[in-house]
Subunit: 339 residues, 4 copies
């Protein structure tokens, strides 16, 4: 198929390249002209302007938008007057599902179809394929299947015990989840889960790290020192992560990446530990609150990121102030021992 790709960041460029490798034709555009260089080497047609890109596509046109969530509305405003009935837009970014529902309704009034394609796989998707969570009209999603099939990882073994082809397309790596917004909703929950999984490994590894501290005094917490002194083990976190990849209950792709990161830098000294968060982690918690569904693990994972960026600081100061008020206590050294 012939498809326009709008937005050539890490994800957009790789999606173009994976489509090209599968034999599709891509007309690509990005405000930063240099962004087209890489897709061009793989055979993409680089359009100098948005208008050129649209002109290079035959009606009904298919355009994959791969932009930060905050940039989508402006681009849609620019696109809308240039689109014709039956044109199809695919929003592959991490848009808020309620925005997607709203946008789809507005575009539908002009006969334009919006498909939301929640896309997971990160920088590995180019080689391994992308996991695609789709929302939109059934006929439109079906018409786009050659594209989704090219992007998805492709046939792998179904979960043991599953009937063959119970979930045909899901077993290839893409799924029509429901009407507009459903794809982005499922992707949002996916990312919420991702936060929880990452935090589970991070907490466990942090515990191992403090249990192994070579010098019990170094940890600053005398009880941590006592634990390490009892254990007397020079735990090798990289080896443990590598070990758990084999046969253990906690094996996963995120554990593969954990092992990889620790193998390269066992103390993770290249990182400050100021952890970013994206809209999807926040939206998941809000959706949980809307649904009256408790999400203690996913919230804790989000909050750890906030705290890592110093955003609990005023709360912490108030705790110290209260301890001074009622007990005359003075603050310990950072990392320091309990009193």
């Amino acid at each position: 198929m012939r498809i326009g790709i709008l937005g050539l960041g890490r994800m957009g460029a790789n999606i173009a390249r994976r489509l090209l490798r599968a034999g599709h034709q891509c007309v690509v555009f990005d405000r930063r002209p240099e962004a087209g260089a890489e897709p061009s080497r793989d055979g993409a047609e680089v359009a100098p302007t948005l208008a050129h890109m649209l002109a290079a596509l035959q009606a009904p046109r298919i355009v994959w938008i791969m932009l930060p969530a905050g940039a989508v509305d402006a681009v849609l405003d620019e696109l809308r007057p240039r689109l014709e009935p039956d044109d199809i837009l695919i929003d592959g970014g991490n848009s808020y599902y309620q925005d997607t529902i709203r946008r789809a309704a507005a575009l539908r009034a002009a006969g334009v179809h919006l498909v939301d394609a929640g896309t997971s796989g990160g920088i590995w998707g180019l080689e391994q394929g992308y996991c695609l969570m789709l929302g939109g009209e059934t006929a439109v999603v079906r018409a786009l299947e050659p594209i989704f099939r090219a992007l998805a990882p492709g046939a792998t073994t179904a979960a043991p015990g599953t009937q063959p082809a119970l979930y045909a397309s899901a077993e290839l790596g893409y799924l029509h989840c429901g009407p507009s917004g459903a794809g982005h909703f499922v992707k949002m929950v996916h990312n919420g889960i991702e936060y929880g999984l990452m935090a589970a490994y991070a907490e466990g590894m942090n515990l191992l790290q403090h249990a192994r501290a070579a010098d019990p005094a170094a940890g600053g917490d005398t009880q941590a020192g006592a634990l390490a002194g009892l254990l007397r083990a020079d735990l090798d976190l990289g080896a443990i992560a590598e070990l758990w990849r084999r046969g253990s209950v906690v094996r996963s792709w995120l554990l593969d990446l954990t092992a990889r990161a620790l193998a390269r830098d066992p103390e993770l000294s290249g990182y400050q530990g100021h952890v970013a968060d994206s809209g999807e982690g926040r939206w998941t918690i809000k959706a949980g609150i809307d649904a009256g569904v408790p999400l203690p693990v996913l919230s804790a994972a989000l909050y750890a990121r906030f705290s890592s960026r110093g955003r609990a600081s005023f709360a912490d100061k108030l705790l110290s102030a209260l301890r001074a008020e009622f007990g005359g206590h003075v603050e310990p050294k950072p990392g320091g021992e309990p009193r």
Copy 2:
């Protein structure tokens, strides 16, 4: 009554003074000789050694021990050979209840009685009285009532709807909770609750603080800036705390102290926000786990203190490392905006 006080830190010295003011006689001892100066001005007899203190008390002797939890066993080892049957020890510190149960059994073998007296009130207890949670043999606790009555805040109104004198002594501010260890157990849970209450105020005030940020950009989180921009309110946290003290559902003594701290230093700039924690907060969570009782709020409060001292740092670094591994993401600035 005549009583020995062993340990003249902030709490011990004030307990001696409150007893003296109520007409009791105190023989006090502390390893730091200068610690006796203040109680001495209130009429305490200052003993130069432990042996002198014991000699200055008539049999059966009563000794109130007010020491850090970690120092109790050593002092008991020193005391035990010098004690006689029917002597009474009162442990007013924050000992671990399981230690108290063990120590009481060991002392009982020598005919010595141990009473645990969980003591709340902080530096305000001298004037306002102490809340006393007692464990030990009924006859012994009863014999000590004049002391407890002098230390406790004294008669105040029972909770509305309560029958008069339903809980006689509790309405004065002391209670025999059960056998040895029960006083320290109840004090432990009391402190666990205290952590939760403090954290609830701290979180709420932190939210108000970020909602008021004068310069929306200053907060570093663009969404926080948007919230502050929407609200356009120069919230006065000190005034709000003072306000809530009147008629609101959240009024409490800890709120009184919050108002006091904010009135003096609205930005709490005198604090780093490295919050200490004591054994009792930790033991409460462990007791919850032993009892199979979920304590999500009390745990979160304890963990915020750990994190405030930088002890989540390796976990945070692993999160950043994983984000780099799967998405090629780089870390934001501290406090910085979400991506």
Copy 3:
């Protein structure tokens, strides 16, 4: 002053009565005619319709609206065409602050002033006074001070260490927090804190309850039985709550109510434990997420309420299913012992 009161639920009726007792005149209206009976006995003029209520007020009219958050927009739609420039509406309910900002802007276009009055005090406010968190234009709030002064608890001692009259009106129990929405925002955070405080007491009391279980086997968790067996204390929760009200760090109004509830029904057998939550608890967490501020304690408190109503049930089933999948484990009895 002369004021209309719209909505005579528990809160609205009591506000009318407290105003009447202070010498103000109230014209009250509620869709349920019988709701006017009680305020009428205190001297309120009961209007048969909304129109009658407005007609009974002289321009510029003052109307206090006391309705569930979900009912406000409909009533405003009904009121708007009947209002004149300089009329004042006071929304004393728990409206979402963003709704208040929006409504104030819309009313301002018609020259009508909206004041948000976050109101705390519950059913006790009639006697003890209400804590009022106000948002709106400065001149309007100032003009209404006689009303706020009548409703607030009135002068009480400022927090010790505070300069006299540092926060003049706050010390009486009302505060102009900022522009429209600021009152409801501060009330929202107040309620968020309330959730956290309540949960802290509830968790601590739950731990005491399981530690006291008379029959160690009854608890169903063998480790809880072991803890209770070690402690051998028949802890009296009502007495402990009453005790803590005297001199302890955790004393508060919510603790007063805890003591009251336990004095009446020590096993709380009159309750199922299905805990409702209101909009304000949910909105606080959402505001925290918007501000990038971690609220682990307040979230945990909200989630405990969701779970109490069975809304974690599918998550729990999946956990049991996963344990069966990897380990062949079967489910324990409810309350049952760990495996």
Copy 4:
């Protein structure tokens, strides 16, 4: 090698069978004689008593103990007088690491070596191999490598970017983590992480489940109904789990099992949702507290299990009681809507 296997539960029997298939000789014993039937079919020698098992092994004897944590001390008491210097015991169960450190020291005094072998893999280990976390003396662990190599999954690809054979044995699926106790400590943290991972999936799936509710009114929470009404998606949880197994960031073995469970029973109607917990989950949190390391996600996961068994019930009742005390609120129906 020739090895005794003591304890033929699910795990012990399968370990014997996997060793037999690899050409090792096993003498097995279980108090329940019928437990030997299955290993016997694979060639195990079934001993009628513990003494017979020991007699059937040549010195120095190797005995793998596979028992519940609570049963180990009694069996060690029975074994100890029958053991000779240089005999080796392997504790493959989930013993508390502090017990292991204590036991190893006691056995060492008699010249007997204890190796702790934390074993992950569940009922799938027979076919897929076990992940083994080992603690003990280096020479002893090295001597047992043929056994560990037979049980482990065997060579698989190292994490991309890892140097070949950086962690030789870890890449086969077993690792000498440190002195006695280190294997059980690492296994404990492994299980703690497992709790967090499971809870992350469970929370996400629960959110999807409530978002899809066919009849918005059915959920009982009007806001959940509103969310489902907005989304209008008949989300297929089984298909989504199957989908995420392909190329997504959250793919893992636990997700494979989630897909499997949902494929068989999409509503998980075969489960009550009373989730058991084992010692290791509890010990992980205690170790975190000892180390002063925040574990908010892993704690939340443990507490969800406690709550699933009704152990928050008294706390919930107190919350309802407090709402009645201050606001006169009555309880909602279970699952019911917020007020």
